[in-house]
Amino acid sequence: MNPARGSLLGIEHLEATEILRLLKFARRMNPDKPRPLLKGKRVLLLFYEASTRTRSSFEIAAKTMGAHTVLIQASGSSIEKGESLLDTGYTVRAVGADIIVIRHPNAGAPYIMAQHIDVPVINAGDGLHEHPSQALLDAYTILRNKKTFKGLQIAIVGDIFHSRVARSACHLLSKFGVKIILCGPPELAPDIATTLAPGVRVTRHIDDALRGTDVVMLLRVQKERLSGLKIDLPEYIARYQMNPARLKMAKKDAIVMHPGPIIRGLELTSEIADGAQSRILEEVRYGVPTRMAILARAMGKMR
């Protein structure tokens, strides 16, 4: 079965025009002004993995639009008792879900769900694969700060390999011709990453990545996903940590982004996290209107 209309499974196969429609619509959404586009609808938040930002902003977005939300987490539900992904899907559908928002530690889990359940499925992060709502809110943040994607250069620094945020960001920004430079040690920023999308380059040197860049996106070293991979953290900090001296190499008006959670003292210093160029909390804020747009689109209300 094909995924239901309005599903958002990834950025890779989303058209540029559709992305712009979403971003435009998000611009019209105001979290402080309820818009009952989803009145009476039931949004099931199926979270198999921990989340603070994504979960709360999907929930607030849904409620702002008048939907009921139900949160199901792995612990404290039948998932803990061994219920399969699809059986959980059939169950929440039977309960009356109109939209399923799913976060899952396995890449592709939302695809499997969407192939079997006849309501829109929204990927809220699947393993190492994609995190489309994050890419959209990042694009939204970039556009609010830079007005256009034209001629932009972004440096994505850190654990690219384990990052669904990086994959989705590369797909999205590449569609608009943004120059993308991935930076990190080979274990975290493998050369194969250049095959992800046109315009992606990999460098080992932070100076090379930052020179002339408009956007610096920092990523956390995902200890929980290293799977036996050993990373020398002091070495990582020495070579890649973002600090004020390094940030000076970027353009004067460069902005610093991070999908969170941030680990102060590791991928960035507090001066950077709290500094004037940081847009980290702005990203979180823009998560709500962006996800309102995603939910409206799921219900065919993005007009």
Binding site: A107, Y111, I112, I192, A193, G228
Partner: protein, 439 residues
């Protein structure tokens, strides 16, 4: 059925003449129109058309290829213990439909086939096998890779090889010991070559596609390093016999080529899916594309095709690995490894190797017959010279058909080839003179 009737049914007292066909028997260097007479379960005579007269039964093989019965060195029949996936009865029915008269069943069952008792159990008629089932026993107890099984006893009980398939024999000392002991008994050690220390949590081949899909990848090195070690061991242990299961990478192939050049007793098989598909073919996390070893890169596939064409590959084996739907229809990373293959192997070989790559049909027949028979010393099989076992596969190399997994004789339907239009199909499968499949 009474026991007398059963005996009569099992005893082919009649003679069967397969006439009008084109015989390809690579071991006997025959590739010509020939009639074949089977009598008392054996080959009684092979002669040019119209020379053999008077048979109780005749099979009209006009326009068809007559070949020695196909042998599959690598099949998971799932007994004992996993009958929800497959049974010997359903698995051998699928084998017969695919043209196989002999299959070698793998020991990674529940429990593991690591004792004489289980070998005997597998060979009992109650299992309902309709083709020959040869048992490959576990190389180490419970396939834990720690203590070798009793090779001598297993060999005497009728096992034809040993393996820990599904897992590798990782420990250097254990593998050496297995090859030494195997060498003394002329017993092939079959290796599932995967350095599992390098493939933790991996579910497909490591490459651009796995990176894009966010799936951890098994590197070619994880296979090649084990094959290289094993070939080195085999080169230096007198009489050691190494058989590399489902070889899938160009790098591992280099090691095997080197071993063969050095006259080491190294044989290997490749699977139809590894010569047909690459890691780029999987769509939408479809776990019917998940198997171990995984689908590899296009350059690995090219290397395998070259080795099939130039005579290096010893056998095509299916690695038929049935799984129930609920074990496959799930998150890709959690889904079971393996696909079914018995009913599509011949057609994929004809379609991909012969029609697309121009590999002669005779070479394909060799890869299904003389080649595998040599790997495991299956005496009297793999050829139709007079006196051989009367196992015959008759197939139509031009027959176009569409594979419908739902109609598979296997208990499981986990295949990426559902709905594929293929060319080449078994028309008759004859085991010891008795027709077990006709289609």
């Amino acid at each position: 059925m009474t026991s007398t009737e059963k005996n009569r049914a099992n005893r082919p007292t009649t003679t069967l003449l397969i006439k009008g066909g084109h015989l390809i028997d690579p071991a006997a260097r025959i590739d010509a129109p020939m009639d074949v007479l089977l009598k008392d379960g054996r080959v009684a005579e092979v002669a040019p058309p119209h020379k053999i007269k008077g048979a109780d039964e005749k099979f009209d093989a006009r326009g068809l290829i007559v070949a020695p019965g196909f042998i599959d060195l690598h099949v998971h029949l799932r007994e004992p213990g996993q009958t929800h996936k497959e049974t010997i009865a359903t698995g051998t029915a699928a084998a017969a439909a695919g043209g196989f008269t002999s299959v070698c069943t793998m020991p990674n069952t529940a429990p593991v086939v690591d004792s004489v008792e289980w070998i005997e159990w597998l060979r009992q008629p109650e299992r309902g096998a309709i083709v020959n089932v040869f048992v490959i026993a576990a190389a180490t107890r419970a396939s834990k890779g720690v203590t070798l099984t009793d090779f001598r006893a297993l060999h005497t009980a009728g096992a034809i090889a040993v393996t820990d398939d599904g897992k590798p024999i990782l420990d250097d000392a254990i593998m050496r010991e297995a090859l030494v002991l195997g060498g003394e008994l002329n017993f092939p050690v079959v290796q599932h070559a995967e350095d599992t220390r390098m493939t933790e949590n991996c579910s497909m081949h490591a490459g651009a596609r796995s990176f894009r899909l966010g799936l951890r990848g098994m590197t070619a090195a994880a296979e090649a390093s084990i094959v290289e070690r094993d070939v080195q061991l085999a080169m230096h242990i007198p009489n050691a016999r190494l058989h590399v299961a489902h070889l899938s990478t160009a790098d591992a192939l280099k090691s095997v080529r080197r071993g063969k050049r050095a006259k080491a007793r190294v044989t290997f098989e490749v699977t139809p899916h590894h010569f047909t598909l690459t890691d780029e073919d999987m769509r939408d996390y479809d776990s019917n594309y998940k198997m171990n070893p995984p689908l590899r890169s296009a350059s690995d596939l090219e290397a395998i095709l070259a080795a099939l064409a130039d005579g290096t590959v010893d056998a095509i084996a299916t690695d038929h690995a049935p799984h129930a739907a609920h074990e496959k229809e799930m998150e890709f990373e959690g889904a079971a490894f393996g696909i079914t293959g018995l009913e599509t192997a011949l057609a994929l070989a004809i379609t991909r190797l012969h029609r697309e790559k121009r590999i002669p049909v005779a070479r394909i027949v060799e890869l299904f017959t003389a080649g595998p028979a040599r790997c495991f010393d299956l005496r009297g099989r793999g050829s139709l010279v007079r006196g051989s076992v009367g196992d015959v596969t008759v197939f139509d190399p031009k027959k176009k058909w569409t594979f419908d997994a739902a109609k598979s004789r296997s208990k499981s339907k986990n295949t990426p080839f559902d709905g594929w239009q293929l060319t080449g199909k078994a028309v008759a499968t004859i085991v010891a003179g008795k027709m077990v499949y006709s289609g």
